[in-house]
């Protein structure tokens, strides 16, 4: 796909003066959404940072429609919206469930799985900032091993990150992708492809959080890119029964091209206490994940 004209008309939808923290990846991603769908989108947002970022009643920082919903219900509400619009013959609006990793990988998992199994016609985007940032940085099942959070305050998270994209692939839905706020053109291309597919589409969007990850707000994009460059976050699309590696991740199929994970980790306060053993296990996770990706390409 050719390079899209970003940031095409993004200001029309994402208004200045939203309630995001400095360096927050959410408005970056919304600008990409609006570059693809303009104002013709309905965002279904469960309890999350985004519930706050859209601003306070009666205001709204998005010139598009937003439905705030209970924490566990984004996929179910989006199913209802999508089916009702179809029934009414409204076809020019994209329904998007927009949920964090907690609302997706944890409390929202059952409704996500249900909507995927029923193959409802909407796009589900999990913006993965790897913890419950809105309530003060508590561990989610999508928090990576070793990361400090306020509920893993001394030894860090001891379990592996839950990989929701893989779970969605196992549901046999028509489109699954991973994306990163560090690669907006790639994210744009994926949304364009997703917009042309009918049925349930899932995008897992890696979204570094300066507050929760303990880094300088100016490094959001740099850190997002380091996750990809170190091979820790692999960008791909899954359709037609296999994985299609995305441009930015292609070089890193070769382990020698990957940057050391330390480079990614050392910029973040949440990994401050990581030791050699943990470092080794994170490196092993990278290798294991790449093996899985290559096996399914």
């Amino acid at each position: 796909m050719s390079r899209p004209p970003l940031p095409y008309k993004t200001r029309d939808v994402v208004l200045p003066g939203d309630a995001a923290c400095p360096g927050c990846p959410i408005p970056i991603a919304w600008k990409v959404l609006s570059a693809v769908f303009g104002d013709k989108m309905i965002l279904v947002i469960p309890a999350s940072c985004s519930s706050v970022v859209v601003g306070m009643y009666p205001g709204n920082s998005l010139r598009a429609s937003v439905i705030h919903v209970p924490f566990a219900s984004a996929a179910a509400v989006a199913s209802g919206v999508s089916e009702a619009l179809k029934k009414r013959g409204v076809t020019d609006v994209q329904v998007i469930a927009w949920a964090g990793d907690g609302g997706t990988a944890d409390i929202g998992m059952a409704s996500l799985s249900g909507a995927a199994e029923r193959n409802h016609d909407f796009i589900y985007i999990m913006y993965d900032n790897e913890a419950y940032m809105n309530t003060g940085i508590q561990r989610s099942s999508s928090t990576p091993r070793g990361a400090w959070t306020t509920t893993t305050p001394i030894i860090g998270k001891s379990e592996e990150k839950k990989d929701v994209a893989k779970i969605m692939i196992a549901h046999g839905v028509p489109y699954v992708a991973t994306a990163s706020v560090g690669y907006v053109h790639d994210f744009y291309n994926k949304l364009v492809r997703a917009s042309k597919i009918r049925g349930f589409r899932f995008i897992s969007l890696h979204a570094p959080c300066p507050i929760g990850w303990r880094f300088d707000p100016r490094y959001t994009v740099k850190i997002a890119r380091l996750a990809v460059e170190s091979g820790l976050w692999v960008l791909y699309e899954y359709y037609d029964g296999k994985i299609h590696l995305s441009g930015p991740s292609r070089p890193y199929v070769d382990p020698s091209k990957r940057k050391p994970v330390e480079e990614y980790l050392k910029l973040q306060g949440r990994f401050r206490r990581i030791d050699d053993e943990l470092l080794k296990s994170i490196q092993e996770y990278v290798e294991k994940n790449w093996e899985w990706v290559k096996k399914h390409m």
Partner: protein, 395 residues
């Protein structure tokens, strides 16, 4: 006239949703509601009802999907019961706060633990403070009528609140009786097209449920309270109109059974009111001046009607099939408060809690309880509360 069918209470709910021409049904099967969902699935798959059925993975999702579909402009219906209703409870609040017209059948059942599949009003009463209009049927005809009227009530611009219709599980849910279904064209004309306060379909920007300051939030609550006050009129108007197209008599938010000249009235809600009516008739034959006020709309609570009918009596006996632990039965609490709105000199008001967990209360039990109440009032020795259990009074 329309069609007369022998239907279970559950099927009566399904038929009401069908003739209301709902566009979207979302449901999760749970005892004793299951056959509502099954019948609707059958209607849809046979092409008798042009609707989408979303077979969700939980009650939380059932109402969430209805909520989304309602916001997007569809007429929606779901039904649930007991534990499922509790699981759904969070979204129950969400629907009323967004002023989304939705109709839901509640096939009432007690709540575990212990596991118990039999009916009372525990699950229904748990939804008391959610901002939904709440009606409750006594028989299958009324289950149908109140459900169909619920669409008209919820879509009235003065109301714009969701409505739940209660029927007792198994007692009405699984037993059959003749139900008259009005002709489709009459219903279409009476009900009209879907009405709602706003539609989220991308045609204009809007944000539903944004974070709000305390003062704004309180205003949302006050608006619902105002809509409830309006709904008092609307439920009456809707039933009056409905009586005209069906020829069935107007009963009002509270049905008065031999209560006009009664010195003592009982107050009840739901299927066991039928047994109470029998008991009242029998006691009348024995010379007791008793009557019954049967609640058909529990929210908004018809306190003014009850006061008007019961204030000149000597005693009011309120039957509850639910308990607010550490306090009294919910209908009793509402009744007592309603009297205090009008007077400081109330008749004797007493609460009897019974029939919890599906315990069977017969018309003989009701007669015994009523007679004792009459004697208590006559001897000026009324206990405000009793729990009637295994034929005995437990205070």
């Amino acid at each position: 006239m329309g069609l007369k069918l022998v239907l279970t209470g559950n099927y009566a709910l399904a038929y009401a949703a069908k003739v209301a021409r709902v566009n979207v049904v979302a449901a999760y099967p749970i005892t004793p509601q299951t056959s509502v969902v099954e019948k609707l699935a059958e209607f849809i798959e046979e092409g008798e009802l042009d609707a989408v059925m979303i077979r969700v993975e939980s009650e939380h999702s059932a109402l969430a999907a209805c909520f989304g579909a309602a916001l997007a402009g569809a007429r929606v219906f779901t039904a649930t019961s007991s534990q499922g209703l509790l699981y759904m409870h969070e979204v129950v609040h969400w629907a009323s706060r967004a002023r989304a017209p939705i109709v839901m059948g509640i096939v009432t059942r007690t709540l575990g633990p212990p596991w118990n599949i039999w009916p009372d009003h525990t699950d229904y009463m748990d939804q008391r403070d959610t901002g939904w209009i709440m009606s409750f049927a006594m028989d299958n005809q009324e289950a149908f009528d109140l459900t169909l009227q619920a669409f008209k009530v919820s879509e009235d611009p003065r109301v714009y609140l969701p409505v739940m219709v209660g029927i007792e599980g198994f007692i009405l849910g699984h037993t059959s009786m003749p139900v008259e279904i009005p002709e489709q064209n009459l219903v279409d004309e009476w009900l009209g097209p879907r009405r709602q306060p706003y539609v989220v379909d991308g045609s204009e920007y809007m944000a539903i449920g944004n974070l709000a300051l305390p003062e704004d939030t309180e205003e949302f609550f006050m608006d619902i309270q105002n809509a409830m006050e309006e709904a008092r009129k609307v439920v009456v108007e809707v039933e009056e109109e409905y009586s005209k197209i069906t020829g069935r008599p107007f009963k009002g938010p509270v049905e008065c059974f031999k209560c006009e000249d009664a010195k003592y009235v009982a107050i009840s809600m739901g299927a066991w009111s039928g047994d109470l009516m029998e008991s009242v008739s029998q006691l009348r034959d024995e010379g007791y001046s008793v009557g019954l006020l049967r609640i058909r709309y529990y929210r908004p609570f018809p306190g003014d009607y009850i006061f008007e009918k019961a204030n000149s009596t000597k005693g009011v006996l309120v039957f509850d099939r639910a308990i607010s632990f550490g306090s009294y039965g919910p209908i009793f609490l509402d009744t007592a408060a309603s009297f205090l709105k009008h007077t400081r000199k109330t008749p004797y008001i007493k609460n009897v809690v019974a029939g919890i967990g599906g315990v069977n209360i017969t018309s003989d039990d009701f007669s015994r309880i009523l007679k004792r109440f009459v004697h208590e009032v006559e001897s000026d020795g009324v206990n405000v509360f009793e729990w009637y259990h295994k034929g005995k009074v437990v205070r």
